[in-house]
Symmetry: C2
Subunit: 240 residues, 2 copies
Amino acid sequence: MLLKDQPLSEDIVGLLEGLSTTRAIRRYTPDPVPPEVLRDILFAATRAPSGSNRQPFRFLVLTEGERAQEARALIADCAQRLWAQKRKDDQYDKRSGADPDSPKSRMSRTMQTYVDEFSQAPCLILPCMLRYREPHVIEGASVYPAVQNLLLAARGLGYGGVITGFHLEVESQLKTLLNIPVDAFIACTVTLGKPQGKHGPVRRLPMSELVFSDNWGDAPRWAVDPPGTTHTRAGPPRAK
Amino acid sequence: MLLKDQPLSEDIVGLLEGLSTTRAIRRYTPDPVPPEVLRDILFAATRAPSGSNRQPFRFLVLTEGERAQEARALIADCAQRLWAQKRKDDQYDKRSGADPDSPKSRMSRTMQTYVDEFSQAPCLILPCMLRYREPHVIEGASVYPAVQNLLLAARGLGYGGVITGFHLEVESQLKTLLNIPVDAFIACTVTLGKPQGKHGPVRRLPMSELVFSDNWGDAPRWAVDPPGTTHTRAGPPRAK
Protein backbone atom coordinates (compact mmCIF):
# COMPACT_ATOMS: atom_id res chain seq x y z
CA MET A 1 0.00 0.00 0.00
CA LEU A 2 1.24 3.51 -0.78
CA LEU A 3 1.94 5.60 2.28
CA LYS A 4 -0.61 8.20 1.20
CA ASP A 5 -3.33 5.54 1.42
CA GLN A 6 -2.05 4.12 4.69
CA PRO A 7 -3.88 5.34 7.79
CA LEU A 8 -2.06 6.20 11.01
CA SER A 9 -1.06 3.04 12.91
CA GLU A 10 -3.54 1.41 15.26
CA ASP A 11 -2.97 2.31 18.90
CA ILE A 12 -1.40 -0.26 21.16
CA VAL A 13 -0.79 2.17 24.04
CA GLY A 14 -3.39 4.35 25.79
CA LEU A 15 -2.97 8.12 25.99
CA LEU A 16 -2.64 8.50 29.78
CA GLU A 17 -0.50 5.38 29.93
CA GLY A 18 1.80 6.76 27.25
CA LEU A 19 2.06 10.15 28.95
CA SER A 20 3.00 8.62 32.27
CA THR A 21 5.46 5.97 31.04
CA THR A 22 7.44 7.71 28.29
CA ARG A 23 10.99 8.13 29.51
CA ALA A 24 14.34 9.08 28.01
CA ILE A 25 15.68 6.18 25.91
CA ARG A 26 19.41 6.30 25.19
CA ARG A 27 20.22 2.68 24.29
CA TYR A 28 18.99 1.39 20.94
CA THR A 29 19.06 -1.81 18.97
CA PRO A 30 20.72 -1.36 15.54
CA ASP A 31 17.35 -1.59 13.75
CA PRO A 32 16.62 1.38 11.52
CA VAL A 33 13.37 3.33 11.96
CA PRO A 34 11.28 2.41 8.89
CA PRO A 35 9.68 5.11 6.71
CA GLU A 36 6.11 4.28 7.76
CA VAL A 37 7.10 4.66 11.43
CA LEU A 38 8.85 7.97 10.72
CA ARG A 39 5.72 9.12 8.90
CA ASP A 40 3.51 8.42 11.90
CA ILE A 41 5.97 9.94 14.39
CA LEU A 42 6.45 13.12 12.40
CA PHE A 43 2.75 13.38 11.64
CA ALA A 44 2.05 13.38 15.39
CA ALA A 45 4.82 15.94 15.95
CA THR A 46 3.34 18.33 13.42
CA ARG A 47 -0.14 18.15 15.03
CA ALA A 48 1.18 20.09 18.04
CA PRO A 49 -0.17 23.54 18.85
CA SER A 50 1.73 26.78 18.21
CA GLY A 51 0.98 30.47 18.75
CA SER A 52 -1.80 31.57 16.35
CA ASN A 53 -1.29 28.20 14.62
CA ARG A 54 1.72 29.69 12.81
CA GLN A 55 3.39 26.26 12.78
CA PRO A 56 6.94 27.59 12.93
CA PHE A 57 8.30 24.10 13.69
CA ARG A 58 10.36 22.24 11.10
CA PHE A 59 11.98 18.82 11.46
CA LEU A 60 15.26 17.92 9.82
CA VAL A 61 15.64 14.15 9.76
CA LEU A 62 19.25 13.07 9.23
CA THR A 63 19.73 9.90 7.19
CA GLU A 64 22.78 8.12 5.79
CA GLY A 65 23.52 10.74 3.11
CA GLU A 66 26.91 12.42 3.04
CA ARG A 67 25.68 15.73 4.43
CA ALA A 68 23.76 13.95 7.18
CA GLN A 69 26.81 11.90 8.14
CA GLU A 70 28.85 15.06 8.42
CA ALA A 71 26.22 16.65 10.66
CA ARG A 72 26.04 13.53 12.81
CA ALA A 73 29.83 13.53 13.26
CA LEU A 74 29.84 17.20 14.25
CA ILE A 75 27.18 16.68 16.93
CA ALA A 76 28.71 13.41 18.14
CA ASP A 77 32.02 15.14 18.70
CA CYS A 78 30.30 17.80 20.82
CA ALA A 79 28.37 15.16 22.71
CA GLN A 80 31.60 13.42 23.70
CA ARG A 81 33.29 16.60 24.84
CA LEU A 82 30.26 17.89 26.75
CA TRP A 83 29.66 14.60 28.52
CA ALA A 84 33.33 14.30 29.51
CA GLN A 85 33.07 17.75 31.08
CA LYS A 86 29.79 17.02 32.85
CA ARG A 87 31.07 13.69 34.13
CA LYS A 88 33.92 15.55 35.76
CA ASP A 89 31.91 18.57 36.97
CA ASP A 90 29.11 16.50 38.48
CA GLN A 91 31.60 13.98 39.89
CA TYR A 92 29.98 10.94 38.30
CA ASP A 93 33.01 8.79 39.18
CA LYS A 94 33.35 9.87 42.80
CA ARG A 95 31.80 8.56 45.99
CA SER A 96 28.73 6.41 45.13
CA GLY A 97 29.90 6.62 41.50
CA ALA A 98 32.84 4.40 42.49
CA ASP A 99 30.39 1.56 43.19
CA PRO A 100 29.62 -0.02 39.79
CA ASP A 101 26.09 -0.98 40.93
CA SER A 102 25.01 2.48 42.10
CA PRO A 103 22.39 4.37 40.06
CA LYS A 104 25.05 7.03 39.48
CA SER A 105 27.47 4.51 37.93
CA ARG A 106 24.75 3.02 35.76
CA MET A 107 23.75 6.48 34.51
CA SER A 108 27.38 7.27 33.82
CA ARG A 109 27.89 4.07 31.78
CA THR A 110 24.67 4.68 29.84
CA MET A 111 25.73 8.23 29.00
CA GLN A 112 29.25 7.15 27.99
CA THR A 113 27.86 4.55 25.59
CA TYR A 114 25.27 7.04 24.36
CA VAL A 115 27.82 9.68 23.37
CA ASP A 116 30.30 7.10 22.02
CA GLU A 117 27.63 5.68 19.70
CA PHE A 118 25.88 8.97 19.03
CA SER A 119 26.81 9.19 15.36
CA GLN A 120 25.37 5.70 14.80
CA ALA A 121 21.99 6.39 16.47
CA PRO A 122 19.31 4.78 14.26
CA CYS A 123 17.67 8.15 13.70
CA LEU A 124 18.77 11.70 14.46
CA ILE A 125 16.28 14.56 14.20
CA LEU A 126 16.87 18.30 14.53
CA PRO A 127 13.62 20.07 15.44
CA CYS A 128 13.98 23.70 14.37
CA MET A 129 11.90 26.83 14.78
CA LEU A 130 11.45 29.60 12.26
CA ARG A 131 11.40 32.93 14.03
CA TYR A 132 8.87 35.53 12.95
CA ARG A 133 9.72 38.01 15.70
CA GLU A 134 12.57 38.83 18.09
CA PRO A 135 13.75 35.96 20.34
CA HIS A 136 11.49 35.75 23.37
CA VAL A 137 11.46 33.55 26.45
CA ILE A 138 8.08 32.06 25.53
CA GLU A 139 8.84 31.24 21.89
CA GLY A 140 9.62 27.66 22.93
CA ALA A 141 5.85 27.22 23.44
CA SER A 142 5.63 26.91 19.64
CA VAL A 143 8.23 24.17 19.17
CA TYR A 144 8.75 22.02 22.28
CA PRO A 145 5.15 20.75 22.40
CA ALA A 146 5.87 19.32 18.94
CA VAL A 147 9.08 17.71 20.21
CA GLN A 148 7.14 16.11 23.06
CA ASN A 149 4.53 14.81 20.60
CA LEU A 150 7.39 13.27 18.62
CA LEU A 151 8.76 11.41 21.64
CA LEU A 152 5.29 10.27 22.71
CA ALA A 153 4.44 9.00 19.24
CA ALA A 154 7.72 7.07 19.19
CA ARG A 155 6.67 5.43 22.47
CA GLY A 156 3.30 4.58 20.94
CA LEU A 157 5.03 2.75 18.09
CA GLY A 158 7.55 0.80 20.17
CA TYR A 159 10.41 3.27 19.77
CA GLY A 160 12.01 5.73 22.13
CA GLY A 161 14.23 8.77 22.18
CA VAL A 162 15.71 11.59 24.15
CA ILE A 163 16.07 15.37 23.88
CA THR A 164 19.62 16.71 24.03
CA GLY A 165 21.36 20.06 23.56
CA PHE A 166 24.50 18.59 22.04
CA HIS A 167 24.13 20.66 18.86
CA LEU A 168 24.59 23.99 20.64
CA GLU A 169 28.31 24.49 20.15
CA VAL A 170 28.15 23.64 16.45
CA GLU A 171 24.83 25.25 15.61
CA SER A 172 26.25 27.74 13.11
CA GLN A 173 28.22 25.02 11.29
CA LEU A 174 25.09 22.84 11.17
CA LYS A 175 23.02 25.72 9.82
CA THR A 176 25.48 26.26 6.98
CA LEU A 177 25.83 22.55 6.22
CA LEU A 178 22.09 21.82 6.20
CA ASN A 179 20.96 25.14 4.68
CA ILE A 180 18.94 26.11 7.73
CA PRO A 181 17.74 29.72 7.25
CA VAL A 182 19.33 32.45 9.36
CA ASP A 183 16.01 33.25 11.04
CA ALA A 184 15.63 29.68 12.31
CA PHE A 185 17.23 28.06 15.33
CA ILE A 186 17.81 24.42 16.19
CA ALA A 187 15.58 23.74 19.20
CA CYS A 188 17.28 20.50 20.23
CA THR A 189 18.77 17.24 18.97
CA VAL A 190 16.64 14.11 19.28
CA THR A 191 17.94 10.56 18.84
CA LEU A 192 15.43 7.80 18.20
CA GLY A 193 15.50 4.04 17.95
CA LYS A 194 14.16 0.77 19.28
CA PRO A 195 14.87 0.55 23.02
CA GLN A 196 17.54 -1.97 23.98
CA GLY A 197 17.44 -3.78 27.30
CA LYS A 198 15.38 -2.87 30.32
CA HIS A 199 14.42 0.65 31.19
CA GLY A 200 13.35 1.83 34.61
CA PRO A 201 10.17 3.70 35.45
CA VAL A 202 9.70 7.46 35.07
CA ARG A 203 10.94 8.99 38.33
CA ARG A 204 10.02 12.49 39.44
CA LEU A 205 9.63 14.51 42.62
CA PRO A 206 6.41 13.92 44.56
CA MET A 207 3.55 15.83 42.88
CA SER A 208 3.05 17.93 46.00
CA GLU A 209 6.44 19.55 45.33
CA LEU A 210 5.57 20.42 41.74
CA VAL A 211 1.91 21.45 41.85
CA PHE A 212 0.60 24.41 43.82
CA SER A 213 -2.78 25.99 44.34
CA ASP A 214 -3.26 29.79 44.46
CA ASN A 215 0.08 30.39 46.20
CA TRP A 216 3.60 29.22 45.36
CA GLY A 217 4.51 26.30 47.61
CA ASP A 218 0.96 25.47 48.73
CA ALA A 219 0.11 22.02 47.38
CA PRO A 220 -3.60 21.32 46.82
CA ARG A 221 -5.02 18.32 48.66
CA TRP A 222 -5.47 16.45 45.39
CA ALA A 223 -1.76 16.64 44.45
CA VAL A 224 -1.18 13.02 45.42
CA ASP A 225 0.73 10.56 43.23
CA PRO A 226 -1.17 7.43 42.16
CA PRO A 227 -0.20 4.17 43.89
CA GLY A 228 3.12 2.72 42.72
CA THR A 229 4.72 6.02 41.69
CA THR A 230 8.49 6.08 42.14
CA HIS A 231 10.30 9.27 43.07
CA THR A 232 13.70 10.81 42.59
CA ARG A 233 15.37 14.03 43.57
CA ALA A 234 15.69 16.73 40.93
CA GLY A 235 18.80 17.09 38.81
CA PRO A 236 21.94 15.08 38.22
CA PRO A 237 23.20 12.76 40.98
CA ARG A 238 24.57 14.67 43.96
CA ALA A 239 28.25 14.33 44.80
CA LYS A 240 27.52 12.33 47.94
CA MET B 1 -11.63 5.84 47.88
CA LEU B 2 -8.85 8.19 48.92
CA LEU B 3 -7.02 9.78 46.01
CA LYS B 4 -3.73 8.24 47.15
CA ASP B 5 -5.25 4.79 46.64
CA GLN B 6 -6.88 5.68 43.34
CA PRO B 7 -4.96 4.59 40.25
CA LEU B 8 -4.65 6.77 37.18
CA SER B 9 -7.89 6.71 35.13
CA GLU B 10 -8.42 3.97 32.57
CA ASP B 11 -7.63 5.06 29.03
CA ILE B 12 -10.50 5.77 26.67
CA VAL B 13 -8.31 7.38 23.98
CA GLY B 14 -5.28 5.82 22.28
CA LEU B 15 -1.89 7.54 22.32
CA LEU B 16 -1.50 8.22 18.58
CA GLU B 17 -5.17 9.15 18.32
CA GLY B 18 -4.79 11.60 21.20
CA LEU B 19 -1.66 13.15 19.72
CA SER B 20 -3.27 13.70 16.35
CA THR B 21 -6.68 14.98 17.51
CA THR B 22 -5.87 17.27 20.46
CA ARG B 23 -6.70 20.80 19.42
CA ALA B 24 -7.05 24.17 21.11
CA ILE B 25 -10.32 24.28 23.08
CA ARG B 26 -11.57 27.75 23.97
CA ARG B 27 -15.27 27.18 24.68
CA TYR B 28 -16.19 25.38 27.88
CA THR B 29 -19.29 24.20 29.66
CA PRO B 30 -19.59 25.70 33.16
CA ASP B 31 -18.69 22.35 34.80
CA PRO B 32 -15.75 22.57 37.17
CA VAL B 33 -12.76 20.26 36.72
CA PRO B 34 -13.01 17.80 39.63
CA PRO B 35 -10.01 17.12 41.91
CA GLU B 36 -9.47 13.55 40.65
CA VAL B 37 -9.31 14.83 37.06
CA LEU B 38 -6.87 17.59 38.03
CA ARG B 39 -4.78 14.96 39.80
CA ASP B 40 -4.52 12.83 36.66
CA ILE B 41 -3.87 15.81 34.39
CA LEU B 42 -1.14 17.27 36.58
CA PHE B 43 0.38 13.85 37.20
CA ALA B 44 0.78 13.43 33.43
CA ALA B 45 2.21 16.94 33.15
CA THR B 46 4.87 16.25 35.76
CA ARG B 47 5.99 13.03 33.99
CA ALA B 48 7.47 15.15 31.18
CA PRO B 49 11.21 15.14 30.52
CA SER B 50 13.54 18.01 31.45
CA GLY B 51 17.27 18.64 31.10
CA SER B 52 19.19 16.28 33.44
CA ASN B 53 15.78 15.47 34.99
CA ARG B 54 16.03 18.70 36.99
CA GLN B 55 12.22 19.04 36.90
CA PRO B 56 12.21 22.83 36.98
CA PHE B 57 8.50 22.92 36.05
CA ARG B 58 5.93 24.03 38.61
CA PHE B 59 2.19 24.37 38.11
CA LEU B 60 0.10 27.01 39.83
CA VAL B 61 -3.55 26.04 39.67
CA LEU B 62 -5.87 29.00 40.28
CA THR B 63 -9.08 28.22 42.13
CA GLU B 64 -11.89 30.36 43.57
CA GLY B 65 -9.79 31.78 46.41
CA GLU B 66 -9.43 35.55 46.75
CA ARG B 67 -5.84 35.64 45.52
CA ALA B 68 -6.71 33.39 42.59
CA GLN B 69 -9.66 35.58 41.63
CA GLU B 70 -7.43 38.62 41.62
CA ALA B 71 -4.91 36.85 39.39
CA ARG B 72 -7.68 35.72 37.04
CA ALA B 73 -9.00 39.28 36.76
CA LEU B 74 -5.52 40.64 36.00
CA ILE B 75 -4.95 38.15 33.18
CA ALA B 76 -8.50 38.50 31.84
CA ASP B 77 -8.02 42.23 31.52
CA CYS B 78 -4.83 41.69 29.50
CA ALA B 79 -6.56 39.08 27.38
CA GLN B 80 -9.28 41.54 26.42
CA ARG B 81 -6.85 44.31 25.55
CA LEU B 82 -4.49 42.04 23.60
CA TRP B 83 -7.28 40.43 21.60
CA ALA B 84 -8.82 43.82 20.75
CA GLN B 85 -5.43 44.87 19.39
CA LYS B 86 -4.87 41.66 17.44
CA ARG B 87 -8.39 41.76 16.03
CA LYS B 88 -7.58 45.17 14.63
CA ASP B 89 -3.99 44.41 13.52
CA ASP B 90 -4.88 41.16 11.78
CA GLN B 91 -8.06 42.68 10.32
CA TYR B 92 -10.39 40.01 11.65
CA ASP B 93 -13.44 42.14 10.77
CA LYS B 94 -12.38 43.03 7.25
CA ARG B 95 -12.90 41.32 3.90
CA SER B 96 -13.88 37.65 4.50
CA GLY B 97 -14.26 38.61 8.19
CA ALA B 98 -17.32 40.62 7.18
CA ASP B 99 -19.07 37.38 6.20
CA PRO B 100 -20.44 35.92 9.48
CA ASP B 101 -20.03 32.35 8.14
CA SER B 102 -16.39 32.64 7.14
CA PRO B 103 -13.76 30.73 9.21
CA LYS B 104 -12.25 34.13 10.03
CA SER B 105 -15.53 35.40 11.54
CA ARG B 106 -16.05 32.21 13.49
CA MET B 107 -12.52 32.43 14.90
CA SER B 108 -13.10 36.05 15.78
CA ARG B 109 -16.35 35.29 17.65
CA THR B 110 -14.72 32.38 19.48
CA MET B 111 -11.82 34.57 20.58
CA GLN B 112 -14.11 37.41 21.66
CA THR B 113 -16.16 35.06 23.83
CA TYR B 114 -12.98 33.44 25.10
CA VAL B 115 -11.46 36.68 26.36
CA ASP B 116 -14.79 38.01 27.65
CA GLU B 117 -15.28 34.88 29.77
CA PHE B 118 -11.61 34.37 30.55
CA SER B 119 -11.89 35.08 34.27
CA GLN B 120 -14.66 32.47 34.54
CA ALA B 121 -12.77 29.66 32.78
CA PRO B 122 -13.42 26.46 34.78
CA CYS B 123 -9.70 26.07 35.45
CA LEU B 124 -6.74 28.39 34.98
CA ILE B 125 -3.20 27.06 35.30
CA LEU B 126 0.10 28.94 35.23
CA PRO B 127 2.94 26.58 34.29
CA CYS B 128 6.17 28.12 35.59
CA MET B 129 9.83 27.31 35.29
CA LEU B 130 12.48 27.70 37.97
CA ARG B 131 15.69 28.92 36.40
CA TYR B 132 18.95 27.41 37.54
CA ARG B 133 21.11 29.26 35.00
CA GLU B 134 20.97 32.33 32.78
CA PRO B 135 17.98 32.58 30.41
CA HIS B 136 18.71 30.59 27.28
CA VAL B 137 16.79 29.98 24.07
CA ILE B 138 16.54 26.24 24.74
CA GLU B 139 15.35 26.44 28.35
CA GLY B 140 11.78 25.97 27.13
CA ALA B 141 12.72 22.33 26.44
CA SER B 142 12.34 21.77 30.19
CA VAL B 143 8.84 23.21 30.61
CA TYR B 144 6.79 23.14 27.38
CA PRO B 145 6.88 19.34 27.03
CA ALA B 146 5.14 19.29 30.42
CA VAL B 147 2.56 21.80 29.20
CA GLN B 148 1.87 19.61 26.19
CA ASN B 149 1.48 16.56 28.43
CA LEU B 150 -1.06 18.57 30.43
CA LEU B 151 -3.16 19.39 27.36
CA LEU B 152 -2.96 15.82 26.07
CA ALA B 153 -3.99 14.36 29.42
CA ALA B 154 -6.95 16.74 29.49
CA ARG B 155 -7.98 15.39 26.08
CA GLY B 156 -7.65 11.84 27.41
CA LEU B 157 -10.09 12.63 30.21
CA GLY B 158 -12.71 14.42 28.13
CA TYR B 159 -11.44 17.95 28.80
CA GLY B 160 -9.60 20.45 26.66
CA GLY B 161 -7.55 23.59 26.90
CA VAL B 162 -5.35 26.10 25.18
CA ILE B 163 -1.95 27.75 25.70
CA THR B 164 -1.95 31.55 25.77
CA GLY B 165 0.56 34.30 26.51
CA PHE B 166 -2.01 36.62 28.09
CA HIS B 167 -0.08 36.82 31.37
CA LEU B 168 2.94 38.51 29.82
CA GLU B 169 2.07 42.13 30.49
CA VAL B 170 1.18 41.47 34.13
CA GLU B 171 3.83 38.89 34.91
CA SER B 172 5.55 40.91 37.62
CA GLN B 173 2.25 41.70 39.36
CA LEU B 174 1.30 38.01 39.23
CA LYS B 175 4.66 37.00 40.64
CA THR B 176 4.19 39.30 43.63
CA LEU B 177 0.56 38.30 44.16
CA LEU B 178 1.20 34.54 43.98
CA ASN B 179 4.63 34.56 45.66
CA ILE B 180 6.38 33.19 42.57
CA PRO B 181 10.16 33.31 43.24
CA VAL B 182 12.24 35.88 41.38
CA ASP B 183 14.22 33.17 39.60
CA ALA B 184 11.08 31.62 38.10
CA PHE B 185 9.13 32.74 35.04
CA ILE B 186 5.57 32.07 33.99
CA ALA B 187 5.85 29.94 30.86
CA CYS B 188 2.25 30.45 29.70
CA THR B 189 -1.37 30.62 30.81
CA VAL B 190 -3.53 27.56 30.22
CA THR B 191 -7.32 27.48 30.51
CA LEU B 192 -9.05 24.13 30.85
CA GLY B 193 -12.60 22.86 30.88
CA LYS B 194 -15.13 20.54 29.29
CA PRO B 195 -15.42 21.35 25.58
CA GLN B 196 -18.68 23.05 24.59
CA GLY B 197 -20.19 22.52 21.17
CA LYS B 198 -18.49 21.12 18.11
CA HIS B 199 -14.82 21.52 17.43
CA GLY B 200 -13.20 21.15 14.04
CA PRO B 201 -10.29 18.86 13.20
CA VAL B 202 -6.63 19.71 13.77
CA ARG B 203 -5.49 21.61 10.68
CA ARG B 204 -1.86 22.05 9.74
CA LEU B 205 0.32 22.59 6.69
CA PRO B 206 0.99 19.49 4.57
CA MET B 207 3.71 17.39 6.24
CA SER B 208 5.99 17.87 3.24
CA GLU B 209 6.27 21.56 4.15
CA LEU B 210 7.25 20.82 7.75
CA VAL B 211 9.51 17.77 7.54
CA PHE B 212 12.83 17.70 5.71
CA SER B 213 15.52 15.13 5.12
CA ASP B 214 19.24 16.03 5.24
CA ASN B 215 18.70 19.46 3.69
CA TRP B 216 16.32 22.30 4.59
CA GLY B 217 13.37 22.26 2.20
CA ASP B 218 13.89 18.71 0.88
CA ALA B 219 10.92 16.63 1.99
CA PRO B 220 11.55 12.89 2.34
CA ARG B 221 9.32 10.61 0.24
CA TRP B 222 7.61 9.35 3.38
CA ALA B 223 6.41 12.83 4.49
CA VAL B 224 2.87 12.14 3.33
CA ASP B 225 -0.21 12.93 5.43
CA PRO B 226 -2.50 10.00 6.23
CA PRO B 227 -5.82 9.85 4.34
CA GLY B 228 -8.41 12.37 5.56
CA THR B 229 -5.92 14.96 6.87
CA THR B 230 -7.18 18.53 6.59
CA HIS B 231 -4.81 21.41 5.94
CA THR B 232 -4.59 25.09 6.67
CA ARG B 233 -2.12 27.85 5.96
CA ALA B 234 0.17 28.92 8.77
CA GLY B 235 -0.68 31.81 11.05
CA PRO B 236 -3.70 34.01 11.65
CA PRO B 237 -6.20 34.53 8.82
CA ARG B 238 -4.79 36.65 6.02
CA ALA B 239 -6.33 40.03 5.29
CA LYS B 240 -7.84 38.78 2.04
